[in-house]
Symmetry: C2
Subunit: 296 residues, 2 copies
Amino acid sequence: MTDTVLAVLNQPSRDAAAHDPSADAYTWAKPLEEHLQVQDLGAIRGDGVFETITVVDGRPQALEPHLARFVRSAAMLDLPAPDLDAWRQAIEAVCARLDPVHEAFAKTVMTRGVEGSGRPTGWVYAAPSGDQSAARTEGIAVVTLDRGYRHDVERTSPWLLQGAKTLSYAVNMAALREAERRGADDALFVSTDGYVLEGTRANLVMSVDGRFVTPRTDIGILAGTTQADVFRFAEGEGIATSYELLTLADLEAADALWLLSSVRQAAPIRSVNGVTRSMDLAMTERINDFLLSREQ
Amino acid sequence: MTDTVLAVLNQPSRDAAAHDPSADAYTWAKPLEEHLQVQDLGAIRGDGVFETITVVDGRPQALEPHLARFVRSAAMLDLPAPDLDAWRQAIEAVCARLDPVHEAFAKTVMTRGVEGSGRPTGWVYAAPSGDQSAARTEGIAVVTLDRGYRHDVERTSPWLLQGAKTLSYAVNMAALREAERRGADDALFVSTDGYVLEGTRANLVMSVDGRFVTPRTDIGILAGTTQADVFRFAEGEGIATSYELLTLADLEAADALWLLSSVRQAAPIRSVNGVTRSMDLAMTERINDFLLSREQ
């Protein structure tokens, strides 16, 4: 945590007042000190949005897709629109200030702010990612867990915020603990009507008869920035890609499975609910080489 | 907010290390200053639990039921057990320090703490409640909204944390905004299989043929402390009470409806989805007189 670099935004949205109108876009802050009030709605209601961005050799990757999703999530929560100029400045400054490290991550957070203030709170911090090689080369064990929702809930009931990347992640963290209790590394959520959704903090991609397939993104899941870049890789390789409604039977029939996310990148799935799956480690290595060499 | 009194706990749980082992149970803090780190899992994952306790003339009400629920919520999230002696001390000190005011509230929050620290963060603040008389005497308009879950999800899928009072309240706040967009004051959640659940921050009680009825508490809703005391009131009055599975048809057939919560106490429902409902304002007044004169 001593390697963490933190910037606090002075005006996270132009639609709301600045914290310090005379200040620059961001202020450097010490990560081990206190910067949030206890009445911040981020801290008492999980009321805000975030992104986690891979940083390779100081360069934030898929920055614009992350920022676009940040804006979409904020809109789904009726938050003021993030001022992307200010966020870009803060993200780039934080990444530039990191100690030289090959893999790091930057986290952007915008909350609704202190109750009654009308001013969102925003910050960005970056830190080294730690060693991700075991997940990438040995694979991960996953269990499937009920997400409790039908696959169409994003359309029928938008106040459930499925598809927004919010700070209300207690369920994701509880599902991760449940997976660990079952001896696995992560969970894969399934809808009550039998469709495969997403991991607790990752998207699923499967290889099926030489194609790459991922769940449709209109079923209450996050549109993955890493998944999108893996599809870009696949298209460059002449591998067909598609977004589909996928069932547990499809999961069982697939030739190879990956969970994709920032920080960990492509992690091949070595077992589902205790059943060993074959992994395509040569393909995994090529995917991760592609992801870690992205220029943007 | 200048009337707010804030105490930060030095050791929210005896199962985890103290922040300051040499300090008292709590430390006085200024509510308008910063007390949380940006890597606190309460702020970045909504990963923690809370209670809101009514304070009348400086006296916290239903304190032990609130603390018991705080402990249950923490256990559902695999958090270390709150040290209730420390929490009681901090709550009582905060309430005693409030400027004299008839109605106030105290909020207790315990988060998983800063990522990797293993030390939960805890605080208590209290502030005047503001005028609740309009809701109590004129009633509130509610709309029913899909909660997206079946009524039995708490038993089938405990990692969804239904029934725990967590900091991941973004959905509750979004439902409240949706209710306001529809011209109402609050939302009443309904399960996908047609059972009436709870409000966004309140429990439902209905009067049916001279009985008081509330939804069963094993259907993924919070067991209400205010609702429990209303049942205690009813029993003292010779009114029968019961916990039942209630459908929208039951809601429609009821003689009177209330949303019950700390701070607002009993708010009669004057309309559901735009349809006017009859209110029992005399009974509402007796309920609120009872609630506001609780000795504990």
